[in-house]
Symmetry: D2
């Protein structure tokens, strides 16, 4: 893989210095990546569940990290679409996202992402995320 978890996180800190709380990579496999978003009160919506934007942001980040792992540092990849289904009320815990690569073309990449919360296998959200890759991207 062109980038390790540590290299991806260093790349993100350099590119997005104001960012924090994007979550931590827990595992990278051939065509998938698992990350964890440590719980913060700021992620809650009324009722004590993780908010929709928190889950959508996590799905987008997990996809981007997986593309970095596969392609190396591609700063200019941009999200073109995100479809999320909200499946269950997500408890106030760490969220865990597993992104799976469905397609890695020269111009478009597509992943799906399954999100659970710590300690419960039932998925709370499922997303499909598309990215446009910059011209000249070299796909392994």
């Amino acid at each position: 893989m062109p980038m390790t978890a540590a290299e991806i996180e260093a790349f993100i800190r350099a590119q997005f210095p104001q960012a924090e709380g994007f979550g931590n990579i827990e595992a990278i496999a051939h065509d998938s990546l698992q990350m964890r978003l440590p719980f913060k009160d700021a992620y809650l919506r009324p009722g004590g569940t993780l908010s929709g934007p928190t889950l959508m942001s996590l799905a987008d980040t997990a996809t981007y990290y997986l593309l970095l792992a596969k392609l190396g540092p591609v700063a200019l990849a941009v999200t073109t679409s995100l479809t999320m289904h909200f499946l269950r009320r997500p408890a106030a815990r760490d969220a865990i996202a597993v992104a799976r690569l469905l397609k890695l073309g020269k111009r478009i990449a597509v992943c799906d992402v399954l999100i659970t919360v710590d300690g419960d296998d039932a998925p709370v959200a499922h997303a499909t995320v598309s990215y446009a890759l910059p011209p000249g991207t070299v796909v392994p």
Copy 2:
């Protein structure tokens, strides 16, 4: 319409006291609602454009407000799916969302939402948002 813009905003403040920056309702018509999200630096992502989660959150909020306008105070409506296409890089300005009601059934409501930024008619994002309505919802 069961609720006016002022009533919706008062309902939101009462239900979601910790919330702020959900945006302001600018117009309510028979089957549509326009709202404005005043620009904040916190909405930016690197590159100086409005972040994806900001736009997705705005689309979800505009849909919820339109359902409140049509149905009255329905605290328990929940988002079941959101599909967003990102169309253009959104400049660092107020975002304006126009939600349009496509279906208002007893159990499911569907809207689409077109988002622009202040001073530019070209859409920056389009969303389709589904809500599940609580049993017993009275649809006008």
Copy 3:
């Protein structure tokens, strides 16, 4: 516009000689196109409503025709995603689709499509359709 309705329909007949029943273009405006799919029994599903694949196929066709109208003969454009929400049971009548151009970039085009049936303004389905455009596409 680079192609008229008659030119689009002639192009389709030449490119897809085995095709029939793709529907007829009723109007082309700057950024939208309306087409009609004349009713056939073959489109019905049990219960006497138009089938989902019929509506999805119509949404895809209306998008492709609108791209032809804007770009000229682009045989190699391919659908990359289609999201459809089914809103009401569509009666056994002609279906009418109005496609609206949301984005026409060098590599990606996005339309949304609203489908009704003849004689009833309530939408039966809404789609968002993305196309990948071949490299070298000249966008007006």
Copy 4:
């Protein structure tokens, strides 16, 4: 499981007597179902690939069959949304769909579906499909 593959196929033949070519169930597991759509020339689009409507119809059918397997004969379940990403050009072969249950609530069920063609593991399409379940549905 409330229904076996043979019971589902008999139910479909009884409910949809004019239907044919919906495909054959190959396996039912706890929360997934695999089916095969035997190749027919009628499924081709120009260029010799399986058409988009064929794949979308297969994704919808696989989801419906999995719901039947889980719930028993629920004739009135209806598709409320379908999102498909087209990943690769599908060769002119049998298509194989694996549907996975993501949520089975009282009112809404959500599956995702991965489609390949016979002899090639690379997915050609991915769908997320939502169904509305009739009131009174008893979920196991």
